[in-house]
């Protein structure tokens, strides 16, 4: 029971980190970046290559993976989404799906469809309390996500850039009138989201150590669900949604059915959205005229 809970929180922490990327990008660019899940996969491969092929130690290879994904996120934004800033949201959505396929196929070309065994990145002993055993990966995952959440909350609430980001997500024209460079701010948001995706990729592959070009797809969709579940656009919502989703998934697997667990996860989402269409923490302030 306790170990299920820990595993659920751990898996949920990964979803939360991915969901943060979805929600931040949605908040600022008002678009669903469906390629986000595939950036996770690229992050996984980067860490895999730098450790397995180049023999790098853990920390540098994680940093390398974050670096590559950050740049990748900015490039995707600049090449694929920026030209569509004024286009219909349907066009943007289709483009995002296209980018997603592009990344998956590029990975297929480079690394083939054979699953790669992800190296053990967390070389720590598991924690044993009484007869409960907690994997070290789960502990590292939870701690990492707590640090990320605190850092991100501080960033958006306390720093000038973070506040500017919130201003841009509310009203781009008014933000420009303040002297805020809207394009640079959007690019920065993609950079942060994609950097986080790389970390999520490493954590995910550490917990489930098979790496394939489609590795990012399902976690991506679930994290998107988590973001909607928590209230898309809301940073605390993404965190809460991610963790709850992870717990629900693990408990559904343990007590109901492994095959049905995904269906149960999405059923919970649908129920929440019927009861509260804006998600758990989503809110709308009535506009005053």
């Amino acid at each position: 029971m306790v170990s299920y809970l820990i595993n659920g929180i751990s898996l949920g922490s990964v979803y939360a980190i991915i969901a943060l990327g979805y929600t931040m990008v949605y908040g600022i660019a008002k678009m669903l970046n469906f390629a986000h899940g595939d950036v996770i996969m690229i992050g996984g491969y980067m860490a895999f290559c730098s450790t397995s092929y180049l023999g790098w130690p853990v920390i540098p290879s994680v940093l390398f993976s974050v670096f590559v994904c950050t740049i990748l996120g900015m490039i995707i934004e600049k090449l694929a989404y920026k030209p569509l800033r004024e286009a219909s949201s349907l066009a943007v959505l289709i483009t995002a799906i296209g980018v997603s396929y592009f990344l998956q196929n590029a990975a297929l070309l480079i690394w083939s469809s054979n699953p790669k065994a992800f190296p053990n990145m967390v070389n720590l002993p598991n924690l044993v309390i009484g007869d409960v055993q907690i994997s070290s990966v789960a502990i590292v995952t939870i701690i990492t996500s707590i640090i990320i959440m605190i850092a991100l909350t501080m960033f958006t609430s306390k720093t000038k850039l973070g506040k500017a980001m919130r201003a841009v997500s509310e009203d781009k024209g008014a933000a420009q009138l303040m002297g805020i460079n809207v394009n640079a701010t959007i690019s920065m948001t993609f950079a942060i989201g994609s950097g986080l995706a790389a970390i999520a990729g490493v954590l995910l592959c550490s917990a489930y150590p098979t790496l394939m070009p489609t590795t990012g797809a399902m976690p991506g969709i679930k994290a998107f669900t988590a973001a909607v579940f928590g209230g898309i656009g809301s940073i605390p919502g993404a965190m809460l949604g991610g963790i709850l989703l992870g717990i629900i998934e693990i408990f559904a697997k343990a007590y109901i059915s492994t095959q049905l667990s995904d269906a149960i996860v999405f059923a919970v989402l649908i129920i929440v959205l019927i009861v509260k269409p804006t998600g758990l923490l989503g809110k709308k302030i009535a506009e005053k005229v």
């Binding site: 000038k160 506040k163 500017a164 919130r166 201003a167 509310e170 009203d171 024209g173 008014a174 933000a175 420009q176 009138l177 303040m178 002297g179 805020i180 460079n181 809207v182 302030i285 009535a286 506009e287 005053k288 005229v289």
Partner: protein, 235 residues
């Protein structure tokens, strides 16, 4: 010396020709008002000058520099602030955060001083500095929008209908503040529906009709101009 000079400016929204070759100027230290009926093109003019809209033919010269093609966020740094129509404060940010965004181009060294100046002008904002801006009353939101525009120390302050939707006593208060800023030497370009009050505080005014300037004169002249009285001052 003219701080802002607009020459033969044309602005289009797609195929709609909204501004049809207007020219006007605002001199250092002046309050100049643009008046005109709904849809005359007043907001379009201000938004174009601020760089939010793409300019057609003609040019906008500010402080001796041609602004055509410069994005809005860089124009702010030249010393221009627009308090846009409908206030457009950041609803989810607090009052203080909104004001900080107004000072975004600054280096932060005069932030406290600038906040105090705004709080002195609008004491109501000081009491409510922690409040989420979207929960302020309409009048308070207008004060916040003006305060936010002042935070960047603009040489030219453009106000788009600052009295819109306010009770008479608040309108009075907003115009008092415009006079106060004027006496301190701030250059102001004011757009108003309330032509009577606008012409009273303005040194000069321009009358805009469907994208063209039809009359100009000092505030006093326009107040007594028959055509203006008929169309905008209720006879």
């Amino acid at each position: 010396m003219s701080l802002l000079k607009v020459n033969e400016l044309h602005v289009y929204y797609g195929s709609i020709h909204a501004i049809k070759g207007i020219s006007f100027e605002v001199n250092e230290g002046e309050v100049v008002t643009l008046i005109g009926a709904n849809g005359a093109g007043k907001s379009t003019t201000l938004n174009s000058v601020a760089g939010l809209l793409k300019l057609g033919n003609g040019n906008v010269e500010f402080n001796g520099k041609i602004l055509n093609g410069i994005p809005a966020h860089k124009i702010v740094k030249e010393g221009m602030a627009l308090c846009p129509e409908g206030r457009r404060i950041f609803q989810q940010l607090t009052v203080k955060e909104n004001l900080e965004m107004g000072a975004y181009i600054g280096d932060g060294s005069t932030l406290d001083e600038d906040l105090n100046n705004v709080y002195e002008l609008f004491p109501r904002l000081k009491e409510r500095y922690k409040q989420i801006a979207g929960t302020l009353s309409g009048g308070e939101q207008q004060m916040l929008a003006m305060g936010r525009a002042l935070m960047s120390h603009p040489r030219l302050l453009m106000l788009d209908e600052p009295s819109m939707g306010l009770a008479p006593i608040l309108v009075e208060q907003i115009f008092d503040i415009i006079k106060q800023l004027h006496s301190k030497g701030t250059t102001i370009l004011l757009v108003e529906q309330n032509a009577q009050m606008a012409l009273k505080v303005a040194d000069r005014g321009y009358v805009l009709e469907t994208g063209r300037i039809v009359t100009t004169g000092t505030g006093r002249e326009l107040l007594h101009n028959d055509m203006v009285r008929k169309a905008y001052l209720g006879g």
